[in-house]
């Protein structure tokens, strides 16, 4: 019987996307955003927190680059992730 693979955490999935845009700073950046704005440990990040987290990420990233396209791509990817997770959490 094939072994069931454990799903990556919400935090890991956010970091994975962020890594494309911020490189090695991604992990620390997202951890700080979660701790400072959501006042919780990165491991406790849940789908319900994503909308608020994305707002804060957009605000900071918009101060790091004036390339609105990059900001927009990054935020869109995060929003898509949020809806994917929300859908997968819906009862069948």
């Amino acid at each position: 019987m094939p072994r069931e693979q454990s799903q990556p955490s919400v935090y890991d999935q956010v970091v994975k996307i962020t890594h494309i845009y911020l490189g090695p700073a991604a992990d620390r950046f997202i951890a700080r955003q979660v701790e400072n704005h959501l006042h919780k440990s990165p491991n406790d990040l849940s789908q319900a927190d994503l909308a608020e987290l994305i707002d804060w990420i957009r605000a900071v990233v918009a101060l790091l680059t004036d390339d609105e396209e990059i900001v927009s791509d990054y935020i869109t990817e995060l929003q898509q992730l949020a809806s994917r997770i929300a859908k997968s959490n819906e009862p069948n």
Binding site: R58, A59, V60, A62, L63, L64, D66, E68
Partner: protein
Amino acid sequence: MNPTDIGVPDNLLPMPRRTRHEQQAEVEAIFTSIGDGAITTDEFGRITRVNPAAQELLGYSEAELLGEWFPKKIVAVTSDNQPINLMDRPITKAFLTGRPVAEKTYYRRKNGEVIALAINVSSILLNGKPLGAIEVFRDITFEQEVDRMKSEFISLASHQLRTPLSAIKTYTHMLIDGFMGELNPDQKKSLRTVIRATDRMNELISILLNVTRLESGNIDSTPKVVQMDKIAAEIIHELELMANGKSINLSMRVKGKDSTSLKTDSLVVKEILTNLVSNAVKYTPESGNVQIVVKPRKASILVEVIDSGWGIPKAAQEQIFSKFFRAQNIVKRETTGTGLGLYLVKGLIDALGGKIWFYSQEGKGTTFSFSLPRSLHPKVRQGKISK
């Protein structure tokens, strides 16, 4: 009937409702009339409002700023006009931390001049959602100049005070040693008091000099590889006499097998450790214990100075690194402190790229811990270091 007719004071009457248009006009008027520079941005970092004071300070017109990307248009620089990392700008820090940030920084004006500013920046939130930021700033060039002049004066005055002190000390020693004829025990006792007082004054002058040097960026830095355990052993040796005077057991140990080497300025590290250990001895009752523990870590060296002293009261703990601050329980026991030692220690550790913190329980003792990076921190360049 009008409420004022029956004696209700005017200020207790409900405010007349304002239209949205009036409220907007009021906000606009407040923003425009702020004496300090004020700029707001939207959630994309684009400038949405600029008041006249900001235009005057930065040299740009409103039309040149509105809609521009704030970090690009208004360049934050170091005092020597080098652009600072976007992550280190106060506005970015405010968004990263979610808290208002108050800092001194430098902006480059339109004509290229560098202007020193005190900045307060907060994110603008609506129902918890960040909509932008407001940054308020004022020119502190004059304050900085006054500060510099004050530091120069203290430095000069301290130097001038030291010279006569060394003459007083030398001749007092000669008197005690009988160079000018034998003295009776009372005379010798009095002269020893003179020596203690001159030592105390020397110590005071040294600390004042160090504080002013640190604040004005005038502490010489000669980075080299040093062994923290050797420095700790030297400090123990130097302060042994002081500890013995109070029957205090002064010791040190290294916890861990890794090397304790780091690249830094050894004189500054000695100054830090001397201050912490002499404080620990000073504020520990007779027959107590003071121990230095060196803990090598992968990228840093951690040092703890543990004492069994009177401790720092909870209420005083927040201010312990403030200039001239002395806790009440200490003032009663030790009248001679300046309240500058820990301020200096923190400034020096910051300047070396390290961190300091403490844990204290009143009546039980205090542990001051500091860590210094093993590799040379960019702040510790050959030449000068400053806060």
